[in-house]
Amino acid sequence: MSSPAAFISELESSLENCPKGSLTPETRFRDQAWWDSLAALTALAVFDTVYGKQLTADQLRQCHTIGDICAHG
């Protein structure tokens, strides 16, 4: 099973405007300046790549932290 570290690493490298090394499982991603609808699409794609399954739009809406996302992995 992939770890949150793998998801965070892949997400940081996929988001151009997210400062590298800034994300932790506790990061409240919706409060970040880089979070928008395009970042949400990126998060879904990275989740699919890292965990080999899909995070639904409804599941993402219920998430507040990076750790919440990874808990679905």
Partner: protein, 353 residues
């Protein structure tokens, strides 16, 4: 999952006609993203759209397709007109019949519309091939066009920068001798009907006093029940979930590998989706047209044939190419075909004016 193989059909023409008004992304963005100018570059890089060609009020998909059809037919009369659109001139009669009258054709022509969106050209091609192989037709005119920009709320930031308008005309004829097959697969998931939807304006919810009521979603996108609603996250997940497997299965059915493909023509949805799909299917990006998306926007049912006419015209006019085309979207619906195509006698775009 229907899979179909046609051996007696060839593409004679693929012609596209875009809406005559050009909207640059920075024009759209200055109105929509005044509070976040950095979004312009984000959209350009991520979505891959730099401009859109749209049809102003009064110009419809029928008008754009008529322009393309007159060139595509090359003076010949078809035995059938199949018109794929979700923005017809009227609920009744269908666009195909109106076009039949405009073209001044004889009465021995079958005419009907197909209500499908981004997968619609492939669906229409499947039906048109059936008409040639089993329906007694020698020549079929397949029109695919939409004016989605006209059903979008101007304050819906999620979709305004995306959609262009276009009409296309594809002419299929019967081969004199059976040739390499065109192999199709077609799919649906009606449980996803709400992911892309225009809620009012049909028999279920006729236009009424509440149809113009505006509301804003959590991201501040404003729309009313007569405008297009698209859930980008749902559509993205659907595409990644269904498309790669469907394409790999189709290739297997056709006895082909990803490396055999000369051109992989996706519905021109957005750069992020197409890049992800190409990677998962294992086809290099230089075989995946995306300039149509960049210059003209997402043209719904017209986007695949328009990309062929715009970006692949030289290649497809010169000789036989192994082409895989795949459309996906509203319905939910997705459909693909693969086979050798070309040389296409008339493969081009034409101006509206």
């Amino acid at each position: 999952m229907p899979k179909a193989v046609f051996k007696s059909v060839q593409l004679e023409s693929v012609v596209g006609c875009a809406g005559p008004v050009v909207r640059r992304l920075d024009e759209d963005a200055s109105a929509l993203f005044a509070d976040a100018p950095e979004q312009v570059a984000r959209i350009r890089d991520f979505v891959g759209i730099q401009s859109r060609h749209i049809a102003p009020a009064g110009i419809t998909a029928l008008d754009l397709c008529e322009k393309a059809a007159r060139v595509a037919l090359g003076g010949q009369s078809p035995d059938a007109i199949v018109f794929v659109t979700q923005t017809p001139d009227h609920p009744q009669p269908c666009n195909a019949n109106i076009l039949h009258g405009r073209l001044g054709l004889g009465k021995d022509v079958a005419c009907f519309d197909i209500n499908q969106g981004c997968s619609g050209w492939v669906y229409g091609l499947w039906v048109a091939c059936s008409l040639v192989e089993a329906g007694g037709c020698e020549r079929v005119l397949l029109c695919a066009g939409d004016t989605i920009s006209q059903i979008i709320h101007p304050k819906d930031r999620a979709v305004v920068p995306l959609f262009g308008d276009a009409g296309t005309a594809t002419v299929l004829t019967r081969r004199t001798a059976p040739g390499n097959p065109l192999v199709f697969s077609l799919h649906s998931d009606g449980t996803g009907k709400d992911a892309i939807c225009v809620p009012h304006g049909g028999a279920r919810r006729p236009i009424g006093p509440d149809s113009s009521a505006e509301s804003a979603d959590a991201e501040g996108n404003v729309r009313n029940p007569c405008s297009l609603l698209m859930s980008g996250l749902e559509v993205f997940n659907f595409t990644l979930r269904e498309e790669p497997g469907a394409i790999k299965s189709l290739l297997s059915s056709a006895g082909l590998a990803a490396a055999d493909i000369d051109h992989l023509v996706f519905h021109q949805a957005n750069k992020f989706i197409l890049t992800n799909l190409a990677k998962r299917v294992g086809v290099p990006l230089d075989k995946v047209p995306m300039r149509t998306l960049a210059e003209f926007g997402n043209q719904s049912s017209a986007s695949i044939p328009f990309a062929m006419a715009h970006e692949l015209a030289t290649s497809l006019a010169q000789g036989e190419r192994t082409l895989l085309a795949s459309g996906f979207g509203v319905g939910l619906s997705w459909a693909s075909f693969v086979g050798k195509v070309g040389p296409i006698a008339r493969c081009q775009t034409v101006p509206f004016a």
